[in-house]
Each structure stands twice: as C-alpha cells, then as structure tokens.
C-alpha cells in the first residue's frame, strides 16, 4: 500500500496543472461555439479522450492520468469539455463493438466535438426497467423505421447524433429483442423538446421519433445484441471522474466556510456555533472518505481490474453523499442558502455542482436530487450490489415468472 503518486504521475500532474493555469479561459464561455473552441483547445493539448487508444485519436493514458487531468481541470475551475457522453462512453462503445466504417466515420468527430452526441435510452414507461422499452425499430430492407419516445436525453437539443436502444424484435424475451443504433438526430422525423426540471433549467430533453430512419450501416453489434452492449458500456465512465468530483465538493466546502464566517446569527458568526461546527466536521469527514474511496477505485483500475458491479458502490456512495452534502450546506446557510439573486455576495458565490453547471447553492441542492435517479437509481444500484457483489438471491419478479 503506497498512496504516493509515481514520479511519472507527479510529472504529469505538474504539467497538467501548469497547462490549465496558463490556458483556462478568463471570461465565461457563453455560447456552444465558445465552449467547442475551448474543448478543441483541450483536445489539441491531449486532455480529451485521454483513455482512448492512440489509433483512434486518444493517448492511451492510464486511469490515473485521466483522473489527474480531470482533477486539475476541476482545481483550475476550468469549464468542462463538451460531448461528455460521446467521449465518455459512446465513442468507447463504437471502439469495442463498431465496424471499421463506423469507427472511421464517427470517432474523430466525437473527440473534437464537431458532432455532438446524446443517449437515447430511457422512456416514459421504461425508467429503472429499461429493458421494457417500447421504441420500435422495424426492418424495412435498406433501413430501420424508428417510432417512439425517449426521455431524460441530456444534450438532446444540441445533439447531432444519438446512441439509440430500440426494440427490433417484439416476439422474443424483452432483453433479447433490443438493438443498438447510431441515430441521426438531424432528420425530419425527430423532434426534441426541452424538459424543464425542478432546477428551472433544461439539461434534459424529450425526444419524439416519428417514422425516423436508422440506417443499416449504423447498427452497432448484432441485431438483438443491444441490451448486452448497453450493459457492458454503462459502467465505462465511473472512476475517472471521481477525484475531480471530490475536488469540486472541496471547493464548495471552502465557500461554505467563508460564508459561515461572514453570516452571523445572534451576533456571532455561524462558524463559532458548536452545532454548525459539528455539522461541518461531519460533512468534511464524509467528503474526505469519498476522496479516499475514489483513490481506492482508481488504484484498482490502474492495476487493470474491471470494477464491474462494484462500480455500483461508487455511484451509490457519491450520489447519496452529494444529496446529504448540499442539504447540509443549505441547512447551515439558512435562508441565505436559498437566495439565487440579490443576497449577500458571499452567499451567492458560484458553486460548481456535479452537473458541471456553475450556479447557486440552491441549484446545487436541487441538482443533487438527479444523481440518485440517473444512470440507475440508488434502489437499482442496491439491487445490483445485493445480487452481484454480495451474492444474495434474486428476487422473484413478475416479468420473470410470466416467462417461466
């Protein structure tokens, strides 16, 4: 056990730190084009798609280096790269399961964010039970005809392409009849409607597909292999971002402490209140434990271990922590924590929530509710942990009983 960075990793960290300090944009990036330009700058410097094999435009970096770069990015308060789903898991899916033509056609433009991607998985009636999805892909000889509705599509409104799960064979067991497609979002049969969330903002969308086309050449893997592909790629992204996430929590903690020094209750700064101090100590400990756990996962990834179902522990842990964390921040800040405009300067400081959006405490508090729902709710993660990590017996499910 040795948690020191290797000399190579330390050198890499210093290099990344210096690069971000020099290059991080001074002015806020307002438009997609400005963000794309910043993304391109990072890509050219080698900080996007680092884990991708060099033959596909990545640098074959180790998990540790990827985590270090993400951490330095967070430390420098640098705007995140765009096309996160494309770079994080759609590209890797194409690398693993795609044809040579698909790789040639799509990969580079994912990395450079020339083409933006979204994920077309969840449906209004297929949330946790994703395999029950009903969007149809009918074989029409030279193409598939796609009809259905998707929801919770992040970035759908700016996406050029989507990775789509659709039912290609309604006659077989539900997990077996699903196929995976690369799907053109810029076609007449596709309508995208922003979904206004409890945050008041619209990071997610609804996508309606009416007699839309998925080309034969854009089928990923075999027909009916869609569920299997979705399973193998869902866990891609965890781990690499975990250190950066904690760094963002830590910078929010510093802001919280600043506010607790300035806000007074009963004539004394909040920071002198023993109850507030106990809460701060508690949440700081929890935050540090998230960091230690992230290092542990990273160390396993670094050794080539595939976290598999254990990545459910990571996801459950950080998303539940984030919820408690911002609840506690708002508890400590009292009414000031809820002000989104017009309050004290110290209390309306930007906070960088895990959505990557820099906004108010109130926004971060609301956004934290998403984390325990998306990418498999906490309840689904606990099922996975129970069944696949602890080996507890599967529950008797109505859909399995019906097939038996």
């Amino acid at each position: 056990m040795d948690l020191n960075l290797s000399p190579e990793d330390r050198a890499f960290r210093d290099q990344a730190r210096a690069w971000f300090q020099r290059n991080v944009p001074r002015a806020e990036l307002k438009t997609l084009e400005e963000r794309r330009a910043w993304h391109r700058t990072m890509y050219d410097a080698g900080y996007v798609g680092m884990g991708w094999p060099t033959e596909y435009g990545g640098r074959g970096a180790t998990p540790m280096q990827q985590a270090i770069a993400a951490d330095e990015m967070a430390r420098a308060n640098a705007p995140a790269p765009i096309n996160g789903l494309g770079v994080g898991f759609i590209g890797p899916t194409i690398i693993i399961h795609g044809t040579p033509e698909q790789k040639q056609r799509y990969l580079r433009k994912i990395l450079t964010a020339e083409e933006m991607w979204c994920q077309l998985y969840s449906e209004p009636n297929s949330g946790s039970d994703l395999a029950s999805l009903r969007t149809r892909a009918e074989d029409r000889g030279d193409h598939f005809l796609v009809n259905g509705q998707k929801i919770w599509t992040s970035g759908g409104h700016i996406a050029d392409w989507g990775i789509l799960l659709a039912r290609s064979d309604p006659g077989v067991a539900k997990h077996k009849g699903i196929s995976c497609f690369l799907f053109d979002m810029r076609q007449p049969g596709v309508q995208v409607r922003p979904l206004k969330q409890i945050t008041g903002s619209s990071e997610f969308n609804e996508v309606f597909m009416t007699n839309a086309r998925a080309e034969k050449r854009d089928l990923i893997g075999r027909l009916g292999q869609g569920w299997e592909i979705a399973q193998t790629t869902l866990g891609f992204e965890r781990g690499g971002n975990s250190m950066a996430r904690v760094t963002r929590y830590a910078s929010a903690f510093d802001r919280l402490v600043d506010a607790a020094k300035k806000i007074e209750r009963g004539g004394k700064p909040l920071l002198e209140d023993p109850v507030v101090r106990a809460k701060l100590g508690n949440v700081y400990a929890e935050m540090e434990v998230q960091r230690y756990a992230a290092l542990r996962v990273l160390s396993a990834l670094q050794k080539g271990a595939s976290p598999g179902a254990a990545s459910s522990i990571t996801k459950l842990s950080y998303s539940e922590f984030e919820k408690r964390y911002y609840e506690l921040c708002l508890e400590i800040l009292g009414p000031y924590g809820q002000v989104t405009d017009g309050g004290l300067e110290e209390t309306t400081l930007d906070v960088d929530s895990s959505s990557g959006v820099r906004s108010s405490w109130a926004y971060a508090f609301l956004w934290a509710r998403a984390g325990t729902i998306y990418s498999g709710s906490s309840e689904i993660q606990k099922n996975v942990i129970g069944e696949r990590v602890l080996g507890l017996p599967k529950e008797i499910r109505a859909d399995r009983v019906a097939k038996a």
Binding site: N282, I313, I385, E395
Partner: protein
C-alpha cells in the same frame, strides 16, 4: 499509487485471520468475558511469538519494524474476532515510547512489550470528559529528585492488567506524558464493568504516585497517542463491522420466510447493500489514515480524525443493521452477533469520540 495491500501485508492478514479463527472462536471470547482479568496470558504469549506485539517496534527491541498499516491490519482482524485483549493500548503506548522515549525508556519497555512480558496503556481522559490537553488537571510535582503525580484518570483501557501507564500531567504549566509503573505506590486502579466485557476500562487514581523525574515523554506524545489510537480503534471497529456484514449476508441467504430466502426481499437486500457501502468506505478511511500517519503525509492527523469519526458511525450502523437483518435470533445472548456489535460500540468513546474528532477536523480545515 497503490491502495491495495502488498503481498506481505495480505499474508499477514491471512495468517492473522487463520490464527484467530482457530484460537479465538466466539466460545473463547465468551470465556474471557467471564474471566476476572478478561484476557488470556497464553494468548498474549502466542501473540508475542507471532511477532504481533513487536510488529511496529524496532528490530533491536525484538520487533519487526513494520508500520501502522500492518498494525491496522492486525487490529482489524482482532476486531473481527472481538478478541478481548489489551493489544491496542499496549502497542499504542509502546509506539509512543519508541518515538519519543529516551534510550533508557526504550530498553526498559520495548523488548518487554515485544516479548510479551509487559502490557501497557494510555490514560487520556479525566473528569472533564474531554480529549483536549487543556482539560488535563493531573499535577506533577517535583519531590526530591522524583516526581509525584496526583489526579484521576477516567476510562483507561485495560489499566487493571497494565504494567506501565502513560499519564499526561502538568508540571506548573508544562505538559508532559509520564511513564508510570502500575505497581508504583500511590497508583490505585478500580475496574469498571461495561457493555463490552472484551474491552475493559478502569479508573486510575494517582495519589502522589512516584515516578523518576526523567520518566516522561514530551507533550507531543499526546497528539501522537490520540491519532494512532483513533486509527487503531477505527481498524477494530471496521473488523467488527465486516464480521457483522458477513454474518448478515450469510443469514439472509439461508433464512426463509414467506417461502423465500429473506435476502431476496429488497427490504433486506438494500440494507445489506448499504452495509457493504459503509464497510468499504470504512476500509478506505481506516487504511488511508494508517498510511498517511505512517508515511508522514501532511494530512495524517486530519485523516485520523476522519477515520475515527466516520467509522464510529458506520460500524454502529452496520452492526446494528446486522441484528435487524437477523431478527429475533440476533437479539439473543447465545447468538454471536452481539460480541461484535458491542466491540464496535465500546470503542466509540475511546481515543476521542466522533464529536471531538469532528471539532479537530473543523479546527484544521476552517480556521
């Protein structure tokens, strides 16, 4: 960077597990619960032979010169066995003597500890029930080349079997940690009976107890003891929690109600998943802190406080939830779960409770 145990560390863990599984079965733990001393001389000698008592002590004192990570590995296994033993308090005191003591103190105590001939403890708490140096009232007065200690130390682990007790006391306004032989005149020890009969505590009254003027360690030893004690306690609590988790999961696989194993019900499965999450986080917290203190990382003291406060809460929850998963049988005396439940609970208030460590954290990060 590598968070996993080295092959030597894994070997140590496996051999400790094998030894304790064979020699410290729950039945042995129960025998020691009923024993007036509460610990076994034979077991202590075996621990010495296995090299456990000198694990972190220098080789010239008969030790193995290993570090805090290895010590934590053993402590986790001792917690997993709910082994009644003054191991933690003894190695803690010995590590402080090794770090801060004079050559004479080292040669007096370290070989004795490593060889199993001496037990030790640390007296960190007084009537203020506070862990900070400011709460210390015990006085050290010079009397003809010797020092006389007067004061009362509360909840001292295993004082009734200790040969030497580390006693923080004030001489004027100068704090030092005195190395007191338990047999010295003026030392009286009143054992208490408490919730975990495998974690004995006693009140130590010093009524002009005489020690040699040079029998002391500098005040820095106090923070050292609290930090390393915190990590050792966290490791034991982690071991107890993992034992409870394992028992709960095994039980949930075989216990049937409504015609199915109860582990198939989400109410039980989700609880077990939450328990695993807490155990894994506790592992990360404990070993991060052990490594950070051992390697002199700048956040070592902070990490020790994080570990103690986090694992205290986590292990209580995990051990308690294990009782809940078991239902009625988990509440019986004859079922072994309460051995581990009680061990985890008993360590909560020792070596700084969670509240104290949270305050230490805030002082470090929000000054």
């Amino acid at each position: 960077m590598d968070f996993s145990f080295s092959s030597d560390q894994q070997l140590l863990k496996n051999s400790a597990r094998a030894f304790l599984d064979e020699h410290v079965k729950p039945a042995q733990v129960r025998l020691l619960w009923d024993d007036p001393r509460g610990e076994s001389e034979a077991l202590w000698k075996e621990m010495a032979q296995l090299g456990w008592l000198g694990l972190a002590l220098p080789e010239d004192a008969g030790g193995s010169a290993l570090g805090l990570v290895e010590t934590a590995i053993l402590q986790e296994e001792l917690g997993r066995a709910a082994c009644p033993s003054p191991y933690l308090s003894t190695v803690l005191a010995a590590m402080a003597i090794d770090r801060f003591g004079s050559p004479a103190q080292k040669s007096r105590w370290l070989p004795a500890v490593a060889g199993g001939g001496a037990r030790a403890t640390v007296a960190l708490m007084e009537r203020a029930l506070d862990w900070s140096p400011q709460s210390i009232e015990t006085r050290a007065e010079e009397r003809g080349g010797k020092v006389a200690l007067s004061g009362v130390k509360q909840f001292v682990p295993w004082a009734h079997v200790a040969d030497v007790i580390l006693v923080p006391a004030l001489s004027g306004s100068t704090l030092a940690v005195y190395v007191v032989e338990a047999s010295a005149p003026g030392v009286s020890i009143t054992p208490l009976t408490s919730l975990d009969p495998g974690t004995r505590v006693a009140q130590v009254t010093l009524d002009g107890a005489a020690v040699a003027a040079e029998a002391k360690l500098p005040a820095d030893a106090l923070a050292f003891l609290l930090q390393r004690g915190a990590v050792g306690a966290a490791a034991e609590m982690l071991g107890a929690a993992r034992r409870c988790l394992d028992m709960a999961v095994e039980y949930a696989k075989v216990r049937e109600q409504f015609g199915q194993p109860i582990g198939s019900f989400q109410a039980i499965r989700h609880k077990c998943a939450e328990m695993l999450l807490e155990v894994e986080n506790s592992h990360a917290a404990t070993y991060y802190a052990a490594w950070a203190l051992a390697s002199g990382a700048e956040d070592g003291a902070l990490a020790a406080s994080v570990a103690k406060s986090y694992v205290s809460d986590a292990s209580r929850k995990v051990c308690g939830d294990a009782i809940q998963v078991h239902g009625g049988i988990g509440f019986t005396w004859e079922y072994d779960l309460h051995l581990y439940f009680k061990r985890a609970k008993a360590l909560e208030p020792l070596y700084g409770d969670a509240e104290h460590h949270r305050e230490l954290i805030v002082r470090r990060v929000a000054s």
